[in-house]
Each structure stands twice: as C-alpha cells, then as structure tokens.
C-alpha cells in the first residue's frame, strides 16, 4: 500500500509536469491550430538558459529564473516573427512541418553547444519542502513541482479569465474574423501565444531538469510526450490538458513501478489509441456549440 501511495504521489507530480508542458502546447494550438513539434526543444532551451545562468555564470537563483523567463518569452516572440508569420495562409501541414524543421534546428544547435552530456543543477530547493507523512516521503523535487504547477495554473487562469489581453487571446481562438472586425491585433495575439507558450516550456524544462538532469535528447523527447496528454484531454481544453497530464503521469509511474520501466514510454500511446477509439475527441474535447 505504501509503495502504491508513494508511486501515486510521484505519478501525480510528474503528471503536473506534463500538465504544464501541455499547457503551452494547447495555447499555441488554440490560438492558431498549429501542432508545435518544436515543443520539446523549447523546453530544452529554457532548461539550458537556466543552467548557463545558475551554474556557468554562477548568478543567484532568483535572477536565473527571471532571466530564463524573460529570455524564453522573447524567444517565443522572435520565433513567431521570423518563422511562423511568413507562413500565414499556407496549408496546415506545411506549418506543422515548419515546426519540425525548427525542432531539428534547435536540437542541432543545442547539441552543438552543449553536446549530449547530462548536466545537473545545484540543489537550490529548501530542505523544508521534503514532506513526511507516515511511511511516505515526498521529496522536495516533487513538492516543488506541485507548487510550481499550482502557481502557474492560478496565474494563467487569472490572466485568461480577467486580463484584457487574455480575453483578446481567447476571442481570437474563438472566431478570428470577429476578432479582426473589432480591431483585435491578431498577429500580436499569435506572437503572444508563442511567447507565453515558450515561457511555460521554460518553466517545465527547469522542473524536468531538477527532476532528471538536463540532457538534450531526454528533454526533446518530452515534446512528444505532450501529444498523448493533450489528445487525452482534448486538444482545445486547458482543463483537459491538466487532467490528461495527471492521468498519464500516474499510469506511467504505476506501470513502471509494477511492470517494467521499458513499458513506461509506450503505455501512454496505447491509452491514447484506446481512448481515441472510444471518444474520438478526447475526454474533454470541445463539444462544439452549434447553431444554425
């Protein structure tokens, strides 16, 4: 039983991680229907910026966080401006392929600069985050993941629910023409959604780095893990992304705990296929409000 609970907690916190990673993905998809295959690379870039600043330049941790977030925010902006904007109006598959090309570019660059070695962050998490309940220990990394996820979700929830820019972003996702007719700057919304997605990626990249160490290959693989998560929850739904992330995280951890670690990577996809056969638009896919 203890083993199960231990796994469950671990699974939930990994699930949280998947959830934030998926959040950035859903954001881009919602605003511009693009499947971003460079997601994992954005994650890795965030993790490496943090590494460079905290370890190589040896600056304080809070500064590293700030620089990473600001940097990846601008990176998202630049990516949209340079690569995605010329593609407006092209077929969807070509835009998707463009993100594949971007992924290869980023991965190549990262490997060139940092090679395939695994790095680790210094342990900056306060020891107080380690929680002991009975026989179960929740290590500080997992607690930090929980906390980071909750903070992020609240911040973004508030942003989308109440801030004007958040409402504009949702309006573009809803009906682009209507948003244009009211003077919403759709291009800025696209750019902003890439920027925010990139920021969110950096966040999950850092957490992943704390959890497993920083390695280009591992981090870019995370980008593909996002697909079962978002499909499970339904591509358009942020709540779905969170629940999908938790489900996949828990199942993966349980499978690797009770069966074998090698099954761990494929089980998400098996669940995905089964779910899609039963519920074609995912568990929480948008039920289209249709009117004639």
């Amino acid at each position: 039983m203890d083993f199960f609970l231990q796994l469950l907690i671990q699974g939930l916190s990994i699930g949280c991680l998947y959830a934030i990673a998926a959040l950035g993905f859903v954001m881009i998809f919602k605003s511009s229907s693009i499947l971003n295959f460079a997601h994992g690379e954005l994650l890795a870039i965030g993790a490496y910026i943090f590494l460079v600043i905290s370890v190589w330049l040896n600056l304080p941790i809070y500064l590293a966080f700030i620089v990473t977030f600001v940097g990846s925010f601008f990176l998202g902006f630049v990516i949209e401006r340079l690569f995605l904007r010329p593609m407006i109006g092209e077929a969807l598959i070509e835009v998707i392929m463009l993100t594949v090309g971007l992924a290869a570019m980023f991965k190549g660059l990262l490997l060139f600069i940092f090679s395939g070695n695994t790095y680790v962050y210094p342990n900056f998490l306060p020891a107080g985050l380690t929680i002991k309940i009975g026989n179960i220990t929740v290590s500080s990394v997992y607690t930090a993941t929980f906390l980071a996820t909750i903070i992020f979700l609240i911040v973004f929830g508030l942003f989308f629910k109440y801030s004007s820019q958040g409402i504009y972003m949702r309006s573009v996702a809803d009906s682009q023409t209507a948003a244009l007719s009211l003077g919403v700057n759709v291009r800025r919304v696209f750019a902003l959604s890439w920027a925010i997605a990139s920021l969110v990626c950096a966040m999950s990249g850092i957490v992943l780095g704390i959890l497993n160490g920083i390695n280009v290959h591992d981090l870019s693989k995370m980008g593909l893990k996002v697909f079962p998560v978002v499909i499970l929850g339904g591509l358009e739904s942020i709540l779905g992304a969170i629940i999908g992330g938790l489900i996949i995280g828990v199942i993966e951890t349980l499978v690797s705990g009770y069966f074998s670690t090698s099954l761990r990577d494929v089980v998400a996809y098996v669940i995905l296929v089964i779910i899609l056969m039963i519920k074609p638009y995912g568990l929480f896919g948008l039920v289209e409000i249709e009117r004639v």
Partner: protein, 267 residues
C-alpha cells in the same frame, strides 16, 4: 448636424483571389452623423463594400484594385483591419458572430481592443443602458444566447470601441419583426445620442429606409440608384423590387411581367 463628409468611397473595384471581380466601380458618400442604408439583393456586393471599408477583405483574399476610400480625409483602402478599426470604423459582421465560449461581458470587453489598457467600466454601463437585456445575461456564455440577444450583443460589442462609423451588416437577418423593430429603434437612438455615423446594409428595405436619411441601391456590384431615403421609399421601382408592393400599393403579382423587364434595364 454638420454637413461634413465622413466617408468617401470613390469608384472602387474589388477582386477576390485575383480573378473574381465583385465590385465594379462603387461610389458612396456618407456625411457625418447620418444613417446611410445600402440595399440590394443577395450577391449584389453590399457585404463586400463593407469589407472593403473595414479592411476585412484581406482574410478573404480580396483586394481593392481601383479607386480609393477615404475616411476623415485619410486614405484607408487596403489597410489592415488593425489600422482601420483604430480610426474608429467598426464593422458588425453579418450573421452575428459572437465569441461562443466567452461570456457576454467578456464579449463586450473584446470591443475595447482598439484602445487596450484604457478603462472600460463606463462603456459597459452605456451598452447595458441601451441593451438592458444584456446586463441580465452578463455571465452567460454567448453561445447559448438567442438570435435577438446575439444581435444586441454584437452591436453592443461594437459600441465598446467608441466607433465614429459603424458598419451594420444585416442586423435583421432571421429575426422576428418586433425584434427587428426594437433593434432598429436602438440603432436610431445610438445614432442620435452618440452621433455615430452608421452605414446599414439591409435586405429589409422598408425598415432600413425608415431610419436612414440617405439610401443606395446595389445590383451586380454597381450602385444603380441613390437618393434621400424618403424619395427612395416613394420610387416605384424600389417599391416594386424591395418593398414588395406595386407602384399602386397593392401586393405584387407574378403576372406583371413588365416589372421583370423594367428591372433588367438596371443591370
């Protein structure tokens, strides 16, 4: 009211996808503070004219190829909608396109996009003053509103942008007659109280000419007739083709083949 020209559409041609010509030399003149209605049957080019003014041609792959559009003395044709809306020209789309997954109040807030960051509370109250029904529904998802409520919502949403020129595209589409009347009354009120210039595209010619001061009739991408709203209402041709009565005021009969011939000479 001042007699100043707000919008001047000078002999424009519009081409979609580089091949389909929809407008062939349309000219309009809208004076400040007046309601101008644009009549015509389906496919006459009314919506395209509005799109040319509001800059929404681009997403449809259309372009103004000839002529010019000026608003307050500035050339605005082929400018992107972000620029045009910031000059105060707001189009209310045909078919009432709400943001279905946003609440009523959030829908209205999108209307503040042209002046992002400025306070908007007063404007919300203003919209609720014109459309009290919206206040009751403020936290409802727009996707679940009825047709009349949606029409109020989209007009209200446009009002949030402080428009100088409001382009209304068929607000009466698919609404019950009493609702149409209510909405038209409100449009008239907005025009009088806010001094908003309005271009009204309509199929419901009777209603439109009632509140408008000036009218244009379009056919096949051309303006075929124009005049004071009062005069147009009395015009036998308009009566026959758009108001549904013969020149004598009786209900039209299909036996009257002459009407068909007479209409043809416009085209």
């Amino acid at each position: 009211m001042e007699d100043k020209v707000a919008l001047l559409v000078n002999n424009i041609s519009v081409v979609y996808h580089d091949v389909i010509q929809v407008l062939k030399g349309v000219s309009l003149e809208v004076k400040k503070g007046e309601i101008v209605s644009l009549l015509g049957s389906n496919g006459a080019g009314k919506t395209t004219t509005l799109r040319a003014i509001s800059g929404l041609l681009k997403p449809e792959n259309g372009r103004v190829t000839e002529g010019s559009i000026t608003f307050d003395g500035k050339q605005i044709h082929n400018e992107p909608p972000e620029v045009i809306t910031r000059l105060g020209i707001i189009q209310v789309l045909e078919g009432r396109v709400p943001f279905k997954y946003l609440t009523v109040e959030e829908n209205l807030r999108v209307g503040t996009a042209t002046r992002w960051g400025k306070p908007y509370k007063e404007d919300l109250e203003l919209v609720y003053h014109y459309f009290p029904r919206l206040k009751e529904l403020r936290n409802r998802l727009a996707g679940y509103l009825s047709g009349g409520e949606l029409q109020m919502l989209v007009i209200g949403r446009a009002l949030m942008a402080h428009p100088k020129l409001l382009l209304l595209d068929e607000p009466s589409l698919g609404l019950a007659p009493f609702l149409v009347k209510e909405i038209f009354d409100i449009v008239k009120k907005i025009n009088e109280e806010q001094g908003t210039t309005i271009v009204l595209v309509e199929q419901n010619a009777n209603m439109a000419l009632n509140i408008a001061t000036y009218g244009y009739v379009m056919e096949n991408g051309k303006i075929v007739m124009e005049g004071k709203a009062k005069d147009l209402k009395e015009n036998p041709d308009v009566k026959e083709f758009y108001l549904g009565t013969t020149a004598k005021g009786t209900i039209k009969s299909y036996k009257d083949v002459k009407a068909y011939k007479r209409r043809k000479r416009w085209l």
